[in-house]
């Protein structure tokens, strides 16, 4: 058995070395998955009968499915029965009491990223009552949102408070049996965010998981649902630039977006899960299904992502362009360093007439990392006048990394206009010497070139996020050259 799969078990075993746990109200479940575990998760959350039934069906479907093998990824077999499917939040006694007890290396990184002091404690998992700021900030936000009629809460809360909305939209974009990981998530999802923007409302602020109370510990099987009613607008920020550690090695999240007539959803992600050490040991495996449904005419869904973390990334944020004149966008920067592997891209499914999509993908590989872009543009027979533009650029740093591009196009309407441009470039020794001759250090030169390469994507991010993302890239590529 390879060291990496021992590692998954290592995590699991360490967590459960104290033996079988009985009190499901406060403790984690023992490893393993069966119908009883699914029932227990649902019970733990006081879910209604229909949702339990929904989870059970997903579980049964999952049992019949096979883990996909088509991605350009290599990792040891995941032992699903070695994983615990419900982890209670860490109790305050188990958390560091103050920043003094936190790994100084982590603090150093926060410093480099310019994370404000009052955020650091929360990110480092310091006991909640020690983190007054973010809690109070979140509360004021809640009031403001309530005034606008916006619902923004945890998924579990939504199930209890707004069951009719959850029932209507859950699984309507990503069906339970969509793919292996989606089925798994549907059976055992832990928590996540729920957002509902009523008709005609422009959400008065950027919504961020950052400000959602209890956002911690929902990482492993996260489930997010955002519904934008007719003529509404919302910008949603997921994740943060600070490196996130998690004892759960396998992550399988689902994000579903629904945009009705004339609605717009802008979804930005900065993902920085622990990538493992230089030898790739201990990193997160991130298998995500993100899909937006432009259900209404003139609707728009825009994905922007900056991905620097995880040992394995399997992720294809997609758009179903059903509504006439609807627009899908995908802007992505993915960085892989050391032994990281990423197979990522997007799918744009043009169903309605005059639908348009734009794909801008920027991949940066350094060290011995491997990265693949996988994009599908499908123009359905009824999608007259559909247009797509794809720009797919790879930047290589050093000679031991790789970039691969797999563009798939399925065009079933003669009026479609589909353009694809791809480039691969390297940061050359001559470029670095040129910069150094102008007094710029090698590290700064690499950052300058990388940031220049990603400019098109960064400009799609909300302002402060863009600045953070830039700093994040610099930190992620530290030591990539020389």
């Amino acid at each position: 058995m390879s060291t990496e799969s021992e590692n998954i078990e290592g995590f699991v075993n360490r967590r459960y070395e104290h033996g079988f746990v009985t009190d499901i109200a406060t403790e984690s479940f023992p490893p393993g998955l069966d119908e009883n575990v699914v029932r227990a998760i649902s019970a733990r959350k006081n879910e209604p009968e229909w949702l339990l039934e929904w989870r059970l069906q997903a579980y049964r479907q999952w049992l019949e499915m096979k883990e996909p093998e088509w991605a350009h990824l290599h990792y040891p077999k995941i032992e699903y029965d070695q994983i615990s499917y419900f982890a209670a939040p860490k109790s305050d006694e188990d958390r560091p009491k103050s920043l003094d007890e936190v790994d100084p290396k982590l603090l150093e990184t926060y410093d480099k990223l310019g994370i404000p002091l009052h955020e650091r404690a929360r990110l480092a998992g310091v006991a909640v009552d020690a983190v007054f700021d973010s809690v109070s900030v979140a509360t004021t936000f809640k009031d403001k949102l309530a005034d606008a009629g916006v619902i923004f809460c945890s998924f579990s809360e939504a199930v209890i408070e707004h069951p009719e909305l959850v029932k209507q939209y859950l699984g309507s974009v990503v069906p339970r049996r969509d793919n292996y990981f989606a089925a798994l998530n549907s059976a055992v999802f832990s928590d996540g965010s729920f957002v509902y923007i009523p008709k005609g409302v422009r959400c008065p602020m950027e919504l961020s998981t950052y400000f959602r109370i209890n956002a911690a510990n929902t990482g492993q099987f996260e489930r997010t649902l955002i519904v934008a009613e007719e003529g509404s607008y919302v910008s949603y920020l997921e994740g943060c630039t600070a490196p996130m550690r998690d004892e759960n090695q396998l992550h399988a999240a689902i994000v579903e977006l629904v945009a009705l007539d004339d609605a717009e959803i802008k979804y930005s992600t900065v993902q920085n899960w622990y990538p493992g050490d230089e030898n790739g040991v201990g990193g997160i495996y991130n298998f995500v299904t993100k899909r937006g449904d432009c259900r209404g005419k003139n609707s728009k869904i825009s994905w922007t992502q900056v991905e620097t973390g995880s040992a394995i990334t399997w992720k294809y944020p997609s758009c179903l362009l059903r509504g006439e004149n609807s627009v899908g966008e995908f802007y992505s920067v993915a960085v892989t360093n050391n032994l990281q592997q990423a197979d990522t891209g997007t799918k744009m499914i043009h169903i309605g007439r005059n639908t348009r999509s734009t794909i801008v993908s920027k991949g940066i590989s350094a060290g011995r990392a491997q990265q693949s872009y996988r994009g599908l543009v499908r123009i359905m027979p009824q999608a007259a006048g559909a247009r797509n533009h794809t720009q797919c650029d790879s930047l290589l740093i050093g000679k031991n990394c790789g970039a691969h591009t797999f563009p798939y196009m399925e065009i079933k309407h003669p009026s479609a206009k589909v353009e694809h441009e791809a480039t691969t470039s390297k940061i050359s020794a001559d470029q670095l010497f040129y910069c150094r001759q102008r007094g710029i250090s090698e590290e700064d030169a690499v950052n300058m070139i990388v940031n220049g390469f990603c400019k098109e994507v960064f400009k799609e991010l909300p302002m402060e996020f863009a600045v953070e993302a830039q700093a994040l890239l610099n930190v992620s590529l530290e030591g990539a050259v020389g």
Binding site: S428, D430, F433, R436, Q437, G439
Partner: protein, 250 residues
């Protein structure tokens, strides 16, 4: 200011500089001429600190300091500027951004605050006007899609902004039209002063019509085989290099 003694350098297996000596004082302009492949660019790259060139002997000091111990960026911040024979393109990186980063790296080294955006823009536009460059070049990628002559002008712009104590210009005059040549000469002459030195690598007398050198050296097979004043350049133009080589060998 710059003292090169018996410098030997090679790239891969071939020895290119074979015991080269050159002394440049503040206030002087030196021209280095010589046949293709004689080692002129190599000399420039070694002084600038290019890692592909291995120094196998001799010494180089700059302002009394052992230059060979310093990283390329340290040499630059200490006042050495190299105008490249083939300036590299850096797509996506804004020309103004690079200029500003270079300027600030130097200012930081000197203990001066970073230049503010307004002051920077003013300075850059002033220098560009002097060089007859359109300000729109500030917003293009570094040398990205520049014509040969535009690249060379851009090198001079960087030099004019950084005001180095020692500027080495490697064939900055090659490929320039007559107006560009005058503009470059104007840039170089405005830098001239008692505290600065300039080394011009060139094949042509015509640059030296605009920038009058104090010394002219002939480099051949990795050594300086003859030095003289500006008259030497005229002589070379007339007679070629063979007579110098013969004289040196004979």
């Amino acid at each position: 200011m710059l003292e090169i003694k018996n410098l030997k350098s090679r790239i891969g297996d071939s020895e290119i500089l074979r015991g080269l000596s050159l002394s440049v004082n503040a206030g002087e302009v030196h021209a280095i001429m010589g046949p293709n492949g004689s080692g002129k660019s190599t000399l420039a790259q070694v002084v600038a600190g290019h890692e592909d060139y291995e120094v196998t002997g001799g010494s180089v000091t700059f302002k009394g300091q052992d230059l060979l111990q310093l990283e390329p960026e340290e040499r630059a911040r200490n006042g050495i500027f190299l105008g490249f024979q083939y300036p590299v393109e850096i797509p996506g990186v804004n020309n103004a951004y690079l200029l500003k980063a270079a300027l600030n790296a130097k200012r930081k080294h000197q203990g001066i605050d970073e230049i503010d955006a307004f002051e920077f823009l003013k300075l850059a536009k002033e220098k560009m006007a002097m060089l007859g460059m359109d300000p729109k070049f500030l917003n293009r990628g570094v040398n990205e899609g520049f014509s040969g002559g535009e690249k060379k002008r851009n090198e001079i712009l960087q030099m004019a902004m950084l005001e180095p104590e020692l500027a080495i210009l490697d064939e900055t005059d090659s490929g320039l039209d007559i107006d560009a040549l005058k503009a470059v000469a104007q840039g170089v002459n405005s830098l001239r002063g008692p505290d600065r030195a300039i080394i011009l690598v060139t094949h042509y007398q015509r640059l030296l019509d605009y920038i009058e050198p104090d010394f002219v050296h002939v480099l051949s097979q990795g050594q300086i085989i003859k030095s003289g004043d500006k008259m030497l350049a005229h002589e070379l133009e007339e007679k070629g290099y063979d007579w110098v080589r013969e004289a040196a060998n004979g």
